[in-house]
Symmetry: C2
Subunit: 552 residues, 2 copies
């Protein structure tokens, strides 16, 4: 028996596009001799469909998509994910199902049992868990079919769940396991995912074929990395990250094992590749081609510009250099040099005239008031307005360049430097951005004379918003080498004040930083969606009240 | 036996404040002869605590708060909601519990069984459902204790659930039912809530005491309306809406029944009162006093200004009148008249100089480009920047004045008129805003000569953004009397295109409007939190993907 894994980039709600992509893959797999092809979880509608699932029309169209695939299953079994109506009036209205289609028939349906409802997941909002577990017979083999999270409760040791669907299926002695997934990327996920697949294979002693989505849906990135693990715990194959792929495997060879094709997993390279596909898919799925961003001469906007140029092509990226009276000559030069080496169009628009117009307009109101952060925010908002004007006039999406450290402590201006359609780096800590810059300079090969596109000066100078004379980030924030590990423990690891102090962080610093994080929830609430690369990103994965009075 | 209901405004995460408030109420109730006092669901930490629940420190503090209340329970039983650790390693980490405290002891704990995970609710994200149901004996009476949603599956007829905790408890023949709730406001909720309490009383034939929260937590408003229903299905008492209250009831009299004190429920009055407490609590809980908003002369900003002046006092509201070259003389006059009759400070800042500075700054880039919506957006963003400058300089929170119809179809400028800390009217359709304006003019009694504060002209003139010469909303949108019912069916009722056409809506219009709603998710994602008054508000209650390609 030959089994094909299709690792595809689905588009939420685009039933026709998704079905066509799957039909093409099925034809292709059949031509390569495949008996069965495996697609992703909820592949017909894309993942996560969120509250579209509450529309009857959406569920009807999903059903029609399954029908189209069923019609194409005459000579190849198609395994695909789709939502299914729960016929029982009791319980949630839908199941998250895996369909096994063959000979133009629905041979079997296995609903998902373990419904992730944490972090970015809301599955219990929509779905009823499965309560029956049956294997499927196909061409003399018995198959255990599972959906994503169903393999994440190995030996019932995951405290979130009390059922282990594969344990139940093993009574019927299946020959191998299929899993259709939509497992979103974080830089640790590929490792964890393979370990989980292996743990299942070890427990049951049979091979597993695991198909993941690839591509980005707004903030969520799917890295692919679909995997085949033999009973001897070798990774028979791992599909490439961040690209669509179709491969056909001979079951006999997988069973035999002895081959290990696991890919290397390097944090910064993974983040880099994830951000590229994140940018690319956001534009493609919204039907846009061109990006705009502000280049300050600092490292964050430099890294964003290089990523955008790589993802979209330099012809599709345009930059504004918007110096104020507080911008150093060096900053403008660094920005200009970057734009020129990248070959991206740039415009220089000094903001002083607009800034002065605001100061004049507010002269009566601000009379006798001391200058404060207000004047800095006006500058940031003038820049935001210029960028959005370019975006509106030319149809470019504004890329936001804020980093995760700033987003965490609220070091940024709403409607100013926090503006944008997509926040490229808002899940990357400042200290990681330095690593990313180094990686870009090491891998972007534009120059016969060697050396990367990001000016050394942008990397080495002390970070500054340049909104008042001589300003440095370190005037208001602890050094990033101190701040970032503290933020990581608070945000990713959810450690409280007591635990942080016990870890050795200074008590006053802990109090100050946690307060900054908590009182700035209102800014994050209105921020652009952030490409998720960590295990805990701002956005749907971290839900906090604005008026909360806790550690604030 | 005397039973006190305390309807209090808790503050998320403010353990000390919440406990102090409850201790004061308990002392007060005891002085009035109460044997038992009932507080709200998760009252010690406020509702909804969201992901604060994932911090050990937060749960620890909740436990300490329960201890403080237990210490105060020597002579009065205290019934209060708090999160509890699930001691079983299997299942979610927490329970949502009702504590029955008396004689300085924990006499009983009943965990919540039915965990709402829909609309604005995410309870299954955090909590494990109860599986055991026991009544509590107190001073010779047997009490069925329940938490909020646990009474919303009467006779197991709610398709969302398969267990009915009160059915289970009835085996022990309780004398009455207690329910601690955090039931958020919509203009239909007070009716539904009383009907639900009555349905339980009818089924079990014993009275119910039901205590709700009051006050707002960012977007979510709790209306109070705590209720006592006698076995004869009379509403023995219903506490006032939108204010804190403490009342003591004689159990004998409640049992006797024959008294009906249900309050009237008028949609527009309820919405009005909800918005007032929504504004007031947002400011109070964030520690702010003063609001700023832009007054355009149109009805939305006029209604927002009157509501703000009522909620915060006219001395705490400041307005900017920011006419452009396209603003009619009339608009400025209407705005000025409103500010003067309300007695709120206003400033006139014409935006042309800033607008012209932007046009000049972008002259090179925009050369030979036709004027389009870009120029309109620049005007809106100049206004946003002026308002935010005032907000930053004087510590006023910017109130957003967008309505639900605009938010739905994306008729507004990100970082311009969509800016603000709180969106007062963003869950009120334009057609409802006219009713609200009328209500305000009927009830705000500022003038010896009669007549309300909102100029008739603001109410009667055709809606316009005044961003280009002669512009009217109806140039780009269907009339609101047509648009709003269609939006209501799509948003509140989740009707799809087929159903809408079957209802008689024009097919082309349906297609056009649904597309407008769906492609503008990116704007709503970055919008200010909207005070929720309907059954389906934008925000946490309606979660849709930005890159979705569905009906778009």
């Amino acid at each position: 028996m030959n089994i094909a894994l299709a690792q595809l980039d689905y588009h939420i709600g685009n039933f026709d596009g998704n079905v066509q992509k799957m039909l093409d893959a099925a034809t292709n797999a059949q031509a390569q001799g495949a008996d069965l092809i495996l697609f992703g979880e909820l592949a017909v509608c894309g993942y996560p469909p969120r509250d579209f699932l509450e529309f009857d029309d959406f569920i009807r169209r999903a059903g029609e998509a399954v029908d189209q695939l069923r019609e194409a299953s005459e000579n190849i079994a198609i395994v695909v994910g789709a939502p299914t109506r729960n016929p029982d009036p009791a319980g949630k209205d839908l199941y998250n199902s895996a369909y096994f289609l063959y000979g133009k028939k629905i041979v079997g349906v296995q609903h998902k049992t373990l419904l992730p409802t944490y972090d970015i997941f809301d599955e219990y909002r929509y779905f009823e868990p499965a309560t029956s577990f049956k294997t499927i017979e196909f061409k003399g083999k018995r198959i255990a079919l599972s959906v994503c999270e169903d393999i994440w409760n190995v030996g019932n040791e995951n405290p979130l769940y009390t059922v282990c669907p594969l344990d139940e299926m093993m009574h019927e002695k299946p020959d191998f396991i299929l899993n259709i997934s939509a497992s979103p990327f974080s830089y640790k996920q590929a490792r964890t995912r393979i370990d989980t697949v292996k743990a299942n294979v070890q427990r049951y002693g049979i091979p597993m074929f695991y198909a993941n989505h690839v591509g980005a849906q707004t903030d969520l990135i799917f890295d692919g990395g679909s995997v085949v693990v033999s009973s001897d715990l070798n990774v028979f194959d791992e599909m490439p990250y961040f690209e669509e792929n179709l491969r056909v495997y001979k079951l006999d060879e997988v069973v035999k094992g002895g081959v290990n094709n696991e890919q290397p997993k390097e944090k910064i390279k993974l983040i880099h590749d994830a951000l590229l596909i994140g940018i690319r898919d956001y534009f493609r799925k919204l039907g846009f081609k061109k990006a705009i961003l502000g280049l300050s001469g600092g490292i964050d906007s430099a890294v964003t510009a290089v990523l955008a140029a790589r993802a979209l092509g330099p012809d599709n990226v345009r930059c504004l250099l918007m110096p104020s009276q507080h911008s150093s000559e060096h900053s403008v030069e660094d920005a200009r040099q970057l734009a020129e080496t990248l070959g991206i169009q740039y415009d220089l628009i000094p903001i002083e005239p607009m800034y002065e117009a605001f100061v004049q307009g507010l002269k009566t109101q601000f009379w006798a008031q001391p200058q404060n952060v207000t004047e800095e925010n006006i500058q940031a908002r003038v820049r935001g307005t210029l960028l959005m004007a370019m975006s509106n006039k030319f149809g470019n999406i504004l890329l936001n360049t804020s980093n995760k450290s700033e987003m965490a402590v609220g070091y940024g201006t709403l409607y100013g430097d926090l503006a944008g359609g997509l926040a490229v780096l808002a899940d990357v800590y400042k200290t990681e951005i330095y690593e990313l810059a180094q990686y870009l300079n090491d891998t972007v090969q534009l120059f016969p004379h060697g050396g990367g596109p990001i000016p050394q000066n942008s990397i080495e100078k002390p970070p500054s918003a340049e909104l008042r004379p001589g300003q440095k980030d370190s005037d208001s924030l602890p050094p990033y080498e101190v701040l970032d590990p503290l933020l990581f423990q608070y945000i990713e690891r959810r450690q409280g004040p007591r635990e942080l102090v016990a870890m050795g962080f200074d008590e006053a610093l802990v109090k100050r930083v946690l307060r900054m994080v908590n009182i700035n929830e209102f800014k994050r609430e209105q921020a652009a969606p952030a490409l998720r690369v960590s295990e805990k990103a701002f956005g749907m994965g971290r839900r906090l009240p604005i008026v909360g009075k806790y550690l604030s």
